[in-house]
Structures are given as C-alpha cells and as structure tokens.
C-alpha cells in the first residue's frame, strides 16, 4: 500500500468528480460557537439514527439525570438515546415528521440542576472490540446528517480496510458546524482518530476538507503533525464533495459497486464531528447529549453557530436567535439536502447540523417549465447518472429502464434539481425512482 498513499497527496486538487459551484453562503464561518441556555422542554424522538427505533426506558414523572439512558432497544442496528438534561419526564407521546411517519418521543422538563448520572465514567478501552463496545453505549451516530450508528460502522471486518477516511468537507451551503469543530477542537478530533487507528491497526487516516476552509486545513495539519498516520486531503470547494461515494472516488480512486458499501472496497468514512465526539467520549464517558448547529436564514436576526441540547425544539432555538418576521419555511439541515419542517415543535436531533428559517420570498421555488434537454443534469451529476431519463422511466414505471440507468446509485445530493433551467423536480423523481427500483429488486430476490 505504501506507493499508493504516496501518490495521494499530490492528487489533492485534480479530483476526478468535480461537482458544481454553488454559492457557499457560510456567513457564520468565523463566529465562535455560542451556547444556548437550557430550553423549557426537551423532546427526544426514539429514532435519531438509521435503524430500529428505541423503546422508552423511562416512565412518566420519573426523574432523569444528564446521561441517563432514555431509549434503548434490543436490536443490532440502533443507537441508544440519553437524556441531555436533568429533570422530570413530562410525557411520552407520538411525534410526527413532515414525511408523514411518526415515532414515540420522550418529553423531559429540565430542572436546571444538570446533575450528572452516577453511572457516567470514562470507558475502559483496551482493544478494538472494547472500543466498539464502548462506542455502542455512547449514543454516537453519523453526525454529518446520515445518522448511521457509529459503533455499527466500526464493527466490521478490518482485514481489508486500509484507509480511515474522515469527512470534513461540509459541502452544503450555509452549514459551518463541522468547520467550527475543526477550528475549535482539533485535539479531540485527532485523539479520536488516533485511538481508532491504534486499536484497529488501520495504517492511514485522511481528513478530507474543502479548500474554502484554509484555517481548518492549517489547524488540523498542525494538530496532526506529530502523527504521520494522519494527514489532511484538500478537496475543491464544489458541491457535493462531502458525499461519501464522491469522497471515496476522489481520494482513493475507488468506487462502491451497486448494492455495496464503502467497506467492500476497503474504506471507512466518518464525519469529522463524529470522530471528535468519539475522542471526547473516550476521555469523559459522557454520551452524546449536545451538538453544534448553524442557525441561518433571511429571517433569523442573529445567525450563529449554536451549541444546543439534543432534543431542543426548533421553535425555542429560533426564539433565542430572534426572528425578523414569521418564517414561511423552516429547514433542518442544509439547503441542498435538508428537510422542511411541518411545525416549530420538532426538535433538533443528533444528526442535524443546521437550522434554516426562510421568509416568504426566499421560500418559493420558481415554476417548472418544459425540459429543453439541455443535459445540465446529466453533465453535473456526481455519480454520472442520467436524471432526466430516470425521471422519464419513473413516470412510466419502467423498472427495467431504471435498472439499466442504475437509479439505485443516486446519492440524493440534489445537484440535478439545482442546475435544471426548467426547474424540473429531478432529485425528487430520482429519489422515488430509487425506492421503486429497490423495492422491485427486493421482490425479485425474494422470488428467487
């Protein structure tokens, strides 16, 4: 592997998948993280990750401390949920998401004491299995937005893994959460990565950062100077460099086969804040209870990078940051991949990195006109898909064509919709096409 890694750094800028330019709008980039005071209530949905929903482990009127286990389920693909505050469980109720699904949620009223649960102590980590086991009880999931349980990603066959990639690209416009983590806490990032490398035996880690964040690049290069296993890989500041398969291709030249995962081609990829949380958890044993989000949007009076307790309702966050007018659209996440919210009582959960509130004018999207076959979607798709043909095949429910067009390889970055001059809802169509294709593939497999 030696010669392979030697060439990597030189390739920093001539990446294969270029992406497109989208105005970055990272206005809060140089603002220190501020800490939001305790909210009036904490709403903890029992699914804040990819996988099985947790079951509430607390009862109504029960007292909880900071770090008390609130949600747990006996399943492999899940991640425990912990109370970020001390207080009393007010109720356990249903919570409805804007996509129509719903989950149980535990509502806690903080008592302001912030007493820490007695069970919290730094984990005993001696080898890789004990590290995975410790992270399993940390509540840490992919904090870049994916929400994949981190311990589960780590719990893989390491024999063919040669690179431990860390994603600090943060290619979404507006968002600065990962950037602040890199600038403010390089030490926990590096200690988290170093521990993982020590125990896993993986020989190399690259922190991938876009070139519009020179301070983060410099800070992490300095912090990693003492460890020659850890290096920084500079990506061009073009969307969507942070998509996992784009990073993999641009850094290692590998691509994930259809239906496969990064581990199939020898790579693991973690968000940079996730790694930092792992480092922090190994030091103090406090499970994931807080996170930083970027609050922005044209009706937000004081845009900022805000550290909030997980479960803080977005209405309280917007009240804290101030609103110049009533928002027409509230997005959790970034403008490209974020999800519009049905109401202000939804909470920030652990994988959310941004909160955008937009006024009337900024909320509307332009009307859709006829496709002029300009091929902008085809030429800008990072995965080299053909979005317009996929949309057409989906409209005809032509599953064979969707299979031929490999709609299942879509990474949902939204580039096709962004560039479309006719403003066709390409990303939404491809998303639907992908789920149609996947369900048909599942059916076909069951039939065999």
């Amino acid at each position: 592997m030696g010669h392979f890694w030697a060439g990597v750094r030189a390739r920093s800028h001539k990446v294969e998948l270029q992406g497109i330019y989208i105005p970055h709008n990272k206005a809060t980039a140089e603002m220190e993280t501020s800490v939001m005071p305790l909210p009036n209530s904490i709403v903890l949905p029992m699914r804040q990750h990819v996988g099985a929903a947790c079951l509430p482990q607390v009862k109504r009127k029960q007292h909880v401390d900071v770090g008390t286990l609130v949600g747990h389920v006996d399943a492999r693909m899940t991640a425990d949920i912990f109370s970020p505050v001390s207080g009393t469980v007010k109720e356990i109720r249903a919570i409805h998401y804007s996509d129509g699904r719903s989950d149980q949620a535990v509502v806690i009223v903080p008592d302001g004491e912030q007493t820490v649960d007695e069970a919290i102590r730094p984990p005993q980590v001696t080898d890789y299995p004990s590290l995975v086991e410790a992270v399993r009880h940390s509540g840490i999931v992919g904090l870049g937005g994916a929400g994949f349980p981190t311990w589960l990603k780590m719990d893989t066959d390491l024999s063919n893994i040669d690179c431990w990639l860390v994603n600090g690209a943060e290619c979404e416009p507006y968002l600065c959460s990962d950037y602040r983590e890199m600038v403010e806490h390089p030490d926990t990032i590096i200690s988290g990565i170093a521990t993982c490398l020590d125990l896993s035996g993986v020989g190399k880690s690259l922190i991938c950062i876009e070139d519009n964040k020179p301070r983060a690049i410099e800070t992490l290069r300095q912090a990693a100077a003492g460890d020659d296993r850890i290096d920084v890989f500079v990506l061009p500041a073009r969307y969507p460099q942070g998509a996992s398969r784009v990073i993999l291709r641009n850094v290692t030249g590998r691509s994930v086969p259809r239906g496969g995962h990064l581990t199939d081609v020898g790579a693991l990829l973690f968000n940079v804040t996730t790694m930092s949380q792992v480092g922090r958890f190994l030091q103090d044993g406090m499970p994931l209870t807080k996170r930083r989000i970027t609050v922005m949007g044209d009706v937000v009076e004081h845009p900022q990078n805000l550290e909030v307790f997980i479960g803080t309702p977005i209405g309280e966050i917007l009240d804290y940051c101030g609103l110049t007018e009533e928002p027409s659209k509230v997005i959790i996440g970034g403008p490209m991949m974020g999800v519009t919210q049905v109401g202000l009582e939804s909470p920030i959960v652990r994988q959310n990195s941004g909160l955008l509130a937009l006024g009337k004018a900024a909320s509307q999207l332009p009307p859709t006109t006829a496709c002029i076959k300009c091929d902008a979607c085809v030429n800008s798709c990072p995965m080299h898909l053909t979005p317009i043909a996929i949309q057409k095949a989906y409209q005809h429910t032509d599953v064979k064509a969707l299979d031929r067009l490999m709609a299942d390889l879509c990474v949902e970055c939204g580039t096709c919709s962004y560039v479309c001059p006719a403003k066709q809802p390409l990303a939404a169509s491809v998303r639907l096409a992908r789920s149609l294709l996947r369900s048909e593939q599942r059916k076909a497999r069951k039939g065999n």
Partner: protein, 320 residues
C-alpha cells in the same frame, strides 16, 4: 415552547435552492452570441437584412404566442426560444428573399416543426434547419438568389454564386472572415460567428464537443481529399451550423460521447454532400439527418455511473 399560532410552514422536497439559470437566461445568452452576426448581416446587406430578421423574429414569436393562446397551453412565447429560431431562420435565407416567404418559413419552423411535436423540448428536428430546407425546396430560385454584400466590390444585386459553388471564383481568406462575399445572411462573416461561438463556450451555454468534432471532421476530410480545409471551414454555413444549429439542446444527443458521434456524423455528411453531391451546401441536410438519428445515438452512448462499472454482484447484502 412557542405556542402562538403560525401559518402553515411550506413543505417542499430537497433541494431548497436552485440556480438562477432558467430557459430564458440560456436563450438570452444565445441571442447575445448571435448579436455580432446580426450586426454583420445588417452591415453587409443593409435594410433588406434588417427587415428579414425583424419579420422572422416577430413571426416566430407571434406564431408561438398564437399557438399557446389557441391551444390554451402555458405561454412560452417569451422564453426567447422562438426568437432564437427567428434569428437563425433569417440567417439561413438570402437577403433578396421576399418577406412573405420568411413568414412561411417561420410557420414551418414554429407550428409544424415545434408545436405539432409538443412544443419546446419535444421537437425532433431543428426548427430553423427544417424551415430552411422547406424554403429551399418550395422556392428554389428565391433561396439561391444571393445579393452581393453592399460593402463588397461587386456589382449591385446580382445572382452571384456562393464561394462553395463550383462556378465561383476563389474567395480570399479575408473576404471569408469578414463576410464580404455572397451568401445567406448569417453564413458570411466567419469572424462574427466565431465571436458568438466563443461567447457560448465561455458562458458554458454549449460545450466544445459538437463544434470541435464537427469542424475537426470537415478539416480532416478536406485534407484527406486534397481540398483546402480553411476554405471549407470558413465558407458556407459550417460555422453557423457547428456553433448554433448542431448545438441545439433538444435535437442533439444527451451525453458528451453521444455529442461527439453526432458531430462526427454531421461532418461526414456535410463533406459527402459538398464534395461529391449535387448540392453546393450540405450543412443543413447533415444536421437534419443526424437529428433523426439522435434517439439511436442516445441508446448507444449512455454514461457509465460511478460504481456501475462492473456487473452487479449476485445476492449482495441489502442496505444496512
């Protein structure tokens, strides 16, 4: 918790932002790129050229507007695509053409070629090119009565041959660049067309694939058959076709590979017609012919998605 009543929040699928480029912006870019040639045509051919351009643009936009009103479909007349068709149509006729003929051409371009196929984005053949071919068949004499450019040292309005006609005397390179030779409105000044082409490339309205492959093929064929490649490229409608008509989004293949194949075909057919055919000019026919092959080119030149390079492995694990 904020308990006051709110108006319902908008729910939209991602992404929540979109680029400022719309169809109209693209068409405006094409019109800007056509502007140098418009100026050149009016300088060279005077008032008749201006009248033809005006008639073609007004009638194209008018036909589109009327169609949308009568059919009660969304009005697409102001997206400027009909205006582009109008300018290109006028560029494809000689300055002596009676105005009513160019209006007939507009009807063929917009109504028959575009709207009957479903409007913008749905037409199979390039509207301006099919209208040119229609006019050439319907009015063969009027379509080949070229006026000598006003600035050229020729006699007044005469039926003069284009530089590609076998009877024509050799035209100098300077004349070809400036356009001071006989021809249709937009095919004369190579310099003006190149300026517009560079603008289209710089604004990324088009990619290099089609113009480069088209012109390159004609150059190569000229060299192979012992003809002067520069004269072949600069005369006739080649540059206008390569930059403005063979790059029409709707009637060209999707992928860059497909575009190269398309342009190669255009170049080959142009040369076949020019060198060995019965016509002086082959650009329009070559583009029309290749337009019809686009679905097949598309089917044969798909992009390979990242991760789709290998065949799907059987019985792979479902999403974790």
């Amino acid at each position: 918790m904020n308990t006051k009543e709110h108006t319902p929040l908008l729910l939209l699928t991602a992404p929540q932002i979109t680029s400022p480029v719309t169809t109209q912006v693209i068409m405006r870019n094409v019109l800007i790129a056509l502007a140098p040639s418009v100026v050149a045509a009016i300088l060279l051919f005077g008032v008749p050229a201006a009248a033809l351009l005006l008639a073609a643009v007004v009638s194209c936009v008018g036909f589109e507007y009327l169609w949308c009103r009568i059919r009660k479909t969304p009005n697409t007349a102001w997206d400027l695509s009909a205006a582009v068709t109008g300018v290109l149509l006028a560029f494809n006729v000689p300055s002596t053409l009676p105005l009513y003929m160019v209006v007939i051409g507009s009807f063929v371009a917009i109504i028959i070629n575009k709207e009957l196929f479903g409007g913008i984005g749905r037409n199979i053949a390039n509207p301006a090119i099919s209208a040119r071919i229609f006019l050439a068949v319907a009015f063969p004499v009027a379509m080949t009565t070229y006026a000598a450019p006003a600035m050229a040292p020729f006699a007044d309005v005469v039926s003069s041959a284009t530089p590609l006609a076998s009877s024509a005397a050799p035209t100098s390179l300077v004349n070809l660049m400036l356009g001071t030779h006989a021809g249709v409105l937009g095919e004369t000044s190579a310099l003006a067309i190149l300026a517009g082409g560079i603008y289209l490339l710089a604004t990324r309205t088009i990619t290099w694939h089609i113009p480069a492959a088209y012109v390159g093929t004609v150059c190569a064929m000229s060299l192979l058959t012992g003809r002067d490649p520069i004269a072949q490229v600069l005369s006739g409608g080649l540059l206008l076709g390569a930059f403005f008509m063979a790059t029409d989004y709707t009637t060209t293949p999707t992928t860059n590979r497909g575009k190269l194949v398309f342009a190669l075909g255009c170049g080959l057919i142009t040369c076949l017609i020019r060198f060995w055919g019965n016509l002086n000019e082959g650009v329009a026919y070559s583009i029309l012919f290749m337009n019809l092959l686009v679905p097949h080119i598309d089917a044969l030149t798909p992009n390979t998605p990242v991760g789709g390079e290998r065949r799907r492995q059987p019985a792979d694990g479902e999403g974790r």
